[in-house]
């Protein structure tokens, strides 16, 4: 069947190449090439999605390396999961790039920005189409590079390079797990191909111990990328990048790559329930702990960052209890509503030039589109009917409930309460009441290049959940080839509990921040210990700084001193001791050695004769070279000694 799938990553890649190579000539352009490219990718993605829905499963593969008894093929495949991801990635990327026309206008490194976004899009699209772990890993690292480059976009500002480094290094630690997983995979199966590995896993062809290495290693990589405990520290700092980047990379797509990896590898995980448990717990705890930090931060982007960590935790929690479809479903809805929240926040930041919610307020009147968009995103995030998050979060919680993990279920519900609370708080502080700064009082709505993407994402944040709803015929689960396990009774109960949780969160946030029945500051003082712990995000940063960063630097300094003061000193001591010995001998044999040197000098004069003898092949050149060596050492000792 004719397919456009292979072209999907090619267009943004070409855009990157052309913008990148044309250098200075493309100053303040770039978008003219990058946006058409990503739009073509989006069109191809949608066509491919329709084809896949019609039963097609495009695949292609070519030999990358072939040795006797050993071959690695590189291929692309589009199954329903990939098709869904392709559309999500190209759609959000398109909207973000259009939005950036307004947001990044006048930026000094405009074309570099679009080049990096194009490379990111190409690599991310490749990542979700790869038919094997090695190609996935390579694309995985390239998106990581783009993340680094884009976080560091304002690299002359203080703190920005550190944030970029932190993101790259923290994910790098997880990536080593990924590399080890691939090594174990290779040692245990001899292949990286998804289909071959999963077939082997299902037939029990992979040793259990190998499976444990593989699954834990993959999860380390996924946890790094998706900012799960204990790797979550990099994502809040990554907010140093431009806000559209945060929307695309650090909310909708790249950070979800970890979730994608686990979803993709679920056939392997099903064989090792212990590791599944680990994922479920890490996901559940991340969902709760990150949400709680969202309660106390004042930076609107940081609220959204902790929210992203928390929501990714939900997805991991779902996958950890074996809920493939709900995890993937939430990945999709979250991509839309979180991109929306970030872009709306970006519109706010663009208007008031601050990220501090304490200096905002009253923006609903000044920024009507933006505030409506943010509100829709907030309702979707909080899980209010009939917004997207309602459907996807419920389907995760229902599966968690059914799996029998009662503690994890209530953890998820508690996190839902907190989620509803912090996002309501953000809405009230940002958009309601009176402006708390001059900038907020004089803010102006952004132009249509920024508001149109907000409108489109708002529609998606409202309706994307319906794809998984019964009234729409369970479109998404059927597309993904997944059955819905939970019975109506369970589903109704979970829906009720989750909706109550959302209401509770929203209601109490309104009580604190809108109606002011309670004073949040007095609460903070009463629970000052807890408040401080949350403000410090449980002290991970300080701990990592002390142990890993400063520890490593101090170790490196010790190693360097050891190198200089022990090893090298010994070498020099041996050298000088030998020299003293040689000097002693030289004194005795001065005549002899001098004679030798003079003799050599004479020898060099007879070079012509030597060449003749060389040709006859009877002179020991070998000896000559040794003589050379000895001669030079003697000379150098004499000159420099």
């Amino acid at each position: 069947m004719f397919t456009l799938a292979w072209l999907i990553p090619v267009f943004p890649a070409l855009a990157w190449l052309i913008i990148g190579l044309s250098g200075k000539e493309m100053q303040n352009t770039g978008s003219q090439l990058a946006i058409p490219a990503v739009v073509v990718s989006l069109v191809c993605s949608v066509i491919t999605l329709v084809q896949v829905a019609g039963g097609a499963q495009p695949e292609t593969s070519w030999t990358w390396l072939e040795w006797p008894g050993f071959a690695i093929s590189f291929g692309l495949q589009v199954d329903p999961l990939s098709a869904m991801m392709l559309v999500v990635v190209s759609l959000v990327s398109t909207l973000v790039q259009v939005y950036s026309l307004g947001y990044m206008a006048g930026d000094g490194h405009y074309s570099r920005y679009y080049a990096n976004l194009s490379l990111f899009t190409a690599a991310m699209l490749t990542l979700v189409m790869a038919d094997n772990y090695l190609l996935l890993l390579m694309a995985w690292e390239i998106v990581g590079l783009c993340s680094y480059l884009l976080i560091g976009h304002y690299f002359q500002n203080s703190g920005v390079p550190q944030a970029a480094n932190k993101a790259f290094l923290t994910t790098r630690v997880g990536d080593i797990g990924l590399i080890i997983a691939l090594a174990a995979l290779f040692a245990g199966t001899g292949t990286f191909s998804f289909s071959e590995v999963f077939a082997l896993a299902e037939s029990g062809g992979i040793a259990q111990s190998t499976l444990v290495w593989i699954t834990i290693g993959l999860f380390l990589g996924a946890a790094g990328k998706s900012a799960q405990l204990p790797f979550q520290v990099w994502l809040p700092d990554a907010m140093a990048g431009p806000t559209p980047v945060s929307a695309l990379i650090h909310a909708a797509t790249m950070v979800a790559a970890g979730v994608y990896l686990i979803a993709r590898s679920l056939p392997l995980y099903l064989a090792v329930p212990e590791v599944m448990q680990l994922i479920a717990w890490v996901g559940g705890l991340t969902a709760l702990l990150a949400a709680a930090v969202g309660l106390v931060v004042h930076d609107i982007k940081k609220v959204l960052a902790y929210s992203t960590i928390s929501q990714l935790g939900y997805m991991m929690l779902g996958l950890g209890v074996g809920a493939y479809y709900p995890g993937v479903f939430h990945l999709m809805t979250h991509a839309f509503f979180k991109a929306l929240l970030f872009l709306a926040a970006g519109s706010v930041i663009h208007a008031v030039h601050t990220q501090d919610m304490r200096r905002m307020g009253g923006l609903a009147k000044r920024l009507p589109y933006t505030s409506a968009a943010f509100l829709i995103g907030a309702l979707a995030l909080a899980g209010v009917y009939p917004f997207a998050g309602f459907y996807s979060k419920d389907s995760i919680l229902a599966e968690v409930y059914l799996s029998g993990h009662r503690v994890l279920f209530w953890l998820g519900i508690l996190a839902a309460v907190i989620t509803a609370f912090y996002i309501t708080r953000a809405v009230v502080l940002t958009f309601w009441h009176r402006p708390r700064s001059e900038a907020a009082a004089e803010a102006h709505e952004s132009g249509p290049v920024m508001t149109v993407p907000l409108v489109i994402l708002s529609l998606l944040a409202l309706s994307a959940g319906w794809l998984g709803a019964e009234f729409a015929g369970n479109l998404l689960p059927r597309f993904l080839g997944s059955e819905v396990h939970h019975t109506d009774a369970v589903h109704r109960m979970v829906t009720l509990v989750a909706s109550l949780a959302a209401m509770l969160g929203i209601g109490s946030a309104l009580a604190f921040y809108h109606f002011r029945w309670f004073d949040p500051q007095r609460m903070a003082q009463r629970f000052s210990r807890l408040h401080r712990i949350l403000q410090q995000a449980y002290g991970f940063d300080a701990l990592y700084m002390r142990v890993f960063v400063q520890g490593t630097i101090s170790l490196s300094e010790q190693v360097s001193r050891f190198d200089l003061n022990v090893i090298d000193k010994f070498v020099n001591w041996v050298g000088s001791a030998t020299r003293s010995l040689a000097m002693g001998i030289a004194k005795l044999d001065r005549v002899l050695i001098d004679g030798f040197v003079v003799g050599m000098g004479t020898g060099l004069d007879l070079a012509g004769e030597k060449v003749r003898r060389w040709q006859s092949g009877q002179i020991a050149n070998y000896l000559l070279s040794l003589v050379w060596a000895v001669l030079i050492s003697i000379l150098t000792f004499k000159i420099f000694g």
Binding site: L65, W67, L145, N165, L169, I179, A187, T636
Partner: protein
Amino acid sequence: MEIPILTLAILMPAAGSLVIALLPHERVHWQRTLALVCSLITLVIVGVMGLEADLSSGRIQLAEVAKWLPQYGVSYHLGIDGLSYPMVLLSALLTTLAVIASWSVEYRAKAYFSLLMLLEAGLIGVFLALDYILFYIFWEVVLVPMYFLIGIWGGPRKEYAALKFFVYTLFGSVIMLVGILALFFGAGGTTFSILELAQGTYGRSLQLWVFLAFFIGLAVKVPVFPFHTWLPDAHVEAPTAVSMLLAGVLLKMGAYGFFRIMLPTLPEAMAQFAPLLGVLGVVNIVYGALAAMAQDDLKKMVAYSSISHMGFVLLGVAALTPAAVNGAVFQMFSHGVISALLFFTVGLIYTRTHTRQISELGGVLVKIPAVGVILAIAAFASLGLPGMSGFIAEFFVLLGTFATLRPLVFVAGLGMILTAGYLLWMMQRVLLGQPPAAWGQVADLAGSELVVAAPLILAAIILGVYPALLLNLSSPTVNGILTLLGGN
């Protein structure tokens, strides 16, 4: 009669060296042009060599044998295979680029370019020689020009660094010579042929002693911890082009010995010492990375990073599996390219800012963006970014090591994190932030500098995207050696 193309590849730069030495002193432009022409012709010869030879056959190609000292079993024996060809190509390529990078050398230019050509002849000779005596001669021939290149055109402590380099490597090679003689007599004293001596089987204790002798000789060159302290000094003092060759090719002579000599000739000793070699490999990786992190001198940092990356070669050899050993061969070439690029870029920064101290640098990306981008590319290549050759090399080494020396994979992985750490930290301090106010107007990348950097960047990317180009050359030879090992 066939054209002795291998001999030609050695003679060409050797003749160039001689002719340059005969040119008038004041004709600096003639001297460097001649060096460039000679190195380019050599590069073409090496290219033709690659087309002529069936390199993926796993056997020695284009062999040239002549009697030399028949009564001692010494012959003039050259040959090429998938193992040595990449190294010969690397030598020819890097020498050409080094000549271009040395274009501004005016001080005693005649001697400089003459020695550079002599160095190339020696390097190519080492990788082509298939007779121990010939191999040893070329090995020593390499020492002499390198000694002078550091000692005359080097930095403030050039005498110390050059002498240390010379004496240290001479010490190693003399011990290696003892090993060669022991092997010769142990095999009956009839031949110095590397290939024939690899056919023989030797008693345990002989293997052990010969192994130790060779190990010291090779370990100094690689260099393996704790024989490495000459390297940072040599690099810090050496001029840029010489550093490119030193890290790019000279270190590979030691590593090459493991593949050409140790694995095929001393299989039992190799198998016995493999775990120890592997441990030394990861010590190199981690120790080198930690030492690199602490350096303030950019060049010294790159030098220690070389030690770290060469650890992967050692680890790959020690793993004794096809993926790992081929990964190690790949790393030799890849590191040759990437380290040359790194040293070259450090040189670019130094000529513009007159400092290599990281603490005195900053904002390079703002002030000289093209140079900054090249440094960033080199750093990401060095830290193993997929799509570039370093990733393939280190990934294959780890892939093959997991089966045999599993715990070491984790230590090496730690080393990769440290590597990312010091390189990112370096970039943060050198490239990002604001440039020091003291810098005046400085020019960005010149065309002639791009000519040096571009081939290296392209090589790293092409091999990173399609590594089969190189792996398909090395694997028949490597797999042949490993099959022999398995048979023992």
